[in-house]
Subunit: 93 residues, 2 copies
């Protein structure tokens, strides 16, 4: 995962955790579009989110971070479907 993206995501999480503003959600939508263009699978995003939570909130109960493992496992299937989708789209171009 790109270091710049990680930093950008951490900054967005930090801003949103300070103040829940609509423009932060809009920024997340824009980031989503960019991530999809870069073909980043959903499980990598969950993994990045878990790492950011752990880094930003070092006192969070470890179980909260561990629980992301199951979410990552579930998203792997969706990631495979996403990759297939991109391949189908490419073929139709």
């Amino acid at each position: 995962m790109d270091e710049h993206l990680k930093r950008q995501y951490e900054e967005l999480l930090c801003s949103y955790s300070r103040e829940k503003r609509e423009d932060h959600l809009y920024a997340a939508q824009q980031l989503s579009k960019w991530m999809m263009e870069q073909r980043i699978p959903p499980e990598e995003i969950i993994s990045m989110h878990a790492a950011a939570v752990k880094k930003m909130l070092p006192d969070v109960p470890p179980v909260v971070v561990d629980m992301f493992d199951l979410l990552i496992e579930i998203m792997i299937g969706y990631g495979i479907a996403y990759k297939e989708h991109e391949t189908l789209i490419d073929r139709q171009r």
Copy 2:
């Protein structure tokens, strides 16, 4: 979201948080397959996960739960791509 699925996911999270076992990860993979068959979009899974964390760990800092909003927002784009993929697959059948 199906109540039975929510309960099943909470139980799996609970088991995994007590003991990080490989068979829980395998159960998550099986659950993922079932969720995909049911065409549950990824953002709904994040939302279910956030609700389960909040329910299971009521003392968790609220910011941890709030941060899931950004993850949900990001997953919406992937959910749209996933829906398109299912439509394409259906058409090819």
